[in-house]
């Protein structure tokens, strides 16, 4: 007699489609990772954990994690700070607020890979405007894409350009949903802007901040398009991220079995570290009862 009758009509179609498209391939990946499938010998043989033993020794794989961590954490941290700052700037009534809001959202709407193509021309050492601006400011030209540290910086700049709008969107939506009484109360209590931010704005926006940071970290940990276009992982392997390395092994060299084992390891490490980061963030940003 309950209203639950027929409830499967809603959830099943989506569930089936998703399971078919994702779960099956994922299980297949695990199976493939236990095979020696490659370009020479395509097929599902069984070699046990050989691929996993190999990847344990693969320093290029592990180094790519370090670079990924630097790239993801660095760019997301910058995106958060800038996005929050911008959201605070245009939050309250301001002249032409709507215009700037739209403008600030535009980069996240654009295709990363296409904008990366443009950015590559921007960073061009002799023909791009980046060095032109430096010269104008009386500074020396920089080898943006051909020096390890700078190549990393370039990629992070592009990421910040592209994705700060996402943080901005999330945090602005959060700020706009805040009640105004706490701010009035703080003003009445005599709190200045800094106290108000630390004691009112930030604590109230913390849960949304965590959500937005996690979402961005998830997306950033997959970074690959931008790297592919801007630096192709170079110079050398200086900007090679995990995704990009797996891409090279799997879809360039067609070492399918080995790439599958890399993929699976990558996925597990990502899931674990993102969970830990989420927990740590939640603990750091949300208050606990101090009473015994």
């Amino acid at each position: 007699m309950s209203v639950d009758r027929g409830k499967l009509v809603f959830v099943l179609p989506g569930l089936i489609v998703l399971v078919a498209i994702i779960l099956f391939p994922l299980l297949f990946t695990i199976r493939v990772s236990l095979s020696s499938w490659d370009v020479a010998q395509p097929g599902l043989d069984w070699i046990g954990v050989t691929n996993y033993l190999r990847l344990a020794e693969d320093t290029r794989f592990w180094e790519s994690f370090g670079r990924l961590a630097l790239m993801a954490l660095g760019s997301v941290a910058l995106q958060y700070l800038l996005g929050f700052g911008l959201a605070l700037l245009v939050w309250r009534d301001m002249r032409a607020g709507r215009f700037f809001r739209v403008l600030f959202l535009i980069p996240m709407m654009t295709t990363p890979v296409i904008m990366a193509v443009i950015w590559r021309t921007v960073f061009h050492e002799s023909l791009g405007p980046a060095n032109d601006v430096l010269r104008l400011l009386g500074m020396a030209s920089l080898p943006w894409l051909s020096q390890a540290g700078l190549a990393m910086t370039s990629v992070i700049i592009v990421e910040v350009w592209q994705w700060t709008p996402f943080m901005f969107l999330m945090l602005l939506a959060g700020l706009l949903s805040l009640p105004r009484e706490p701010f009035l109360a703080a003003a009445i209590d005599g709190a200045g802007p800094i106290r108000t931010f630390l004691r009112v704005t930030f604590p109230m926006i913390a849960p949304i901040s965590i959500g937005a940071i996690i979402i961005r970290l998830i997306e950033a940990s997959k970074i690959m398009d931008t790297v592919y276009v801007i630096t192709s992982g170079g110079p050398g392997t200086a900007t090679e991220t995990s995704s990009y390395y797996i891409f090279i092994r799997g879809l360039r060299d067609f070492q399918i079995g080995y790439a599958a084992s890399l993929s699976f390891t990558y996925l597990v490490i990502m899931a674990i570290s993102l969970t830990i980061i989420a927990k740590v963030l939640a603990r750091a940003m949300i208050v606990k009862d101090r009473a015994a």
Binding site: P179, E181, P182, L184, A185, A186, A187, I188, D189, G190, A191, G192, R195, R199, V200, P203, M204, V287, K288, D289, R290, A291
Partner: protein, 361 residues
């Protein structure tokens, strides 16, 4: 605490037109120092606008606001030395109760030991002493509301405490305690307290003076007793009390008024300055309608048409002289089965011209 003067204050949210549509009609009033006021009225009557003007959230389109003769009309909320308690409790989420209460003092750079002493005093008064070290976020909503109030009480520079429907989100069972606390705090500190509410119980219980508003106008300012006994405006008779005051259309007739076939004497009625064509009404509260025996000269024969019991009282509806009149009777008051008479209590017979009280008899 301070005296607050409102000088020809008015507000219109759309002041562009030649004939502004007032959310608050021009109004002059002085809020006495140390007095407790309630702004009472149905939603949209302008009470919140008035409160927001005093707290500085809304800048009035006309008139001035003065605190102890200091013109604060243009000053921002933060610079007006007021405290405000909102409908939803506002607490600083990351702080303990102590830190919450100390916050306004810390912002004012008060020395640490002085802060501790004042917070201790206020916490004592509000029964929060045992919870000073707890995270404020974890307290119940009524305790949070007390903290909001406490942040106003710790300061010694407060001109007035403004409360905007502060008990709306409080559990009914806890309201009694909070009302008592508010009343006690007020008695102890002689605060200038201005309290906005749509709930007549809240207003009449807490305030010494109730300001009744309707359609952007103040229709009466009076003690709870005055509002009940002598509504200056027909709206007050309707809005305050349940059932509402009986209001019966009438016309002037030799030394009194005729209500249907009843004649009610209003000594001096002939000399009243009443505009010709004014709408006249006779008002009497159901509490002042009594059943009586036929002998009284000013009693009217009536027929009981409806009788509802509400616990300790009964609401009777009588028909007399073509008029329907409600009476509130004690549950044990006998109602004669046969012919009965009703009488209106002396001094409780009210005459209204165009909804304003003009005579009492």
């Amino acid at each position: 605490m301070a005296r607050i003067d409102l000088d020809r204050l008015a507000h219109s949210y759309d002041s562009s037109g030649p004939q502004p549509t007032y959310a608050l009609h021009p109004f002059t009033h002085t809020w006495e120092d140390g007095e407790t006021y309630a702004l009472l009225g149905p939603s949209g009557c302008g009470k919140t606008t008035l409160l927001n003007i005093m707290s500085g959230i809304v800048r009035p389109s006309e008139g001035r606001v003065r605190f102890d003769s200091l013109d604060v009309t243009e000053l921002a909320t933060a610079r007006r030395n007021i405290a405000q308690v909102f409908q939803f409790p506002v607490i600083y989420r990351t702080m303990t109760v102590f830190e919450n209460l100390a916050f306004p003092l810390r912002c004012r750079q008060m020395p640490q030991n002085e802060i501790r002493q004042r917070v201790g005093e206020v916490a004592e008064l509000l029964n929060l002493t045992g919870q000073l070290q707890r995270a404020a976020l974890r307290l119940s909503s009524d305790a949070k509301q007390l903290i909001s109030l406490g942040r106003g009480l710790v300061r010694n520079d407060v001109a007035a405490i403004l409360l905007d429907e502060p008990l709306t989100v409080i559990d009914p069972q806890l309201k009694f305690e909070l009302r008592r606390k508010l009343k006690e705090v007020n008695r102890r500190y002689r605060l200038t307290l201005i309290y906005v509410t749509h709930d007549q119980t809240e207003a009449m219980t807490l305030a010494n003076k109730v300001v009744v508003m309707n359609h952007g106008r103040v229709v009466q300012i009076g003690t709870p007793q005055e509002l009940f006994e002598r509504p200056e405006d027909a709206f007050v008779g309707y809005f305050i009390g349940s059932p509402s005051m009986n209001m019966l259309a009438c016309r002037l007739a030799d030394g009194g008024v005729d209500v249907g076939s009843m004649h009610i004497a209003f000594p001096g009625a002939d000399r009243l300055a009443i505009k010709p064509g004014a709408k006249l009404a006779f008002g009497v509260r159901p509490e002042y309608v009594a059943i009586t025996d036929s002998s009284a000269a000013d009693a009217f024969p009536a027929v009981l048409v409806d009788l509802k019991s509400v616990g300790a009282f009964r609401i009777a509806t009588f028909e007399t002289g073509g008029q329907r009149i409600k009476a509130k009777l004690r549950a044990d008051a006998p109602i004669p089965a046969s012919q009965l008479f009703i009488r209106f209590a002396d001094g409780r017979r009210l005459l209204y011209a165009d909804d304003r009280l003009v005579a009492v008899a």
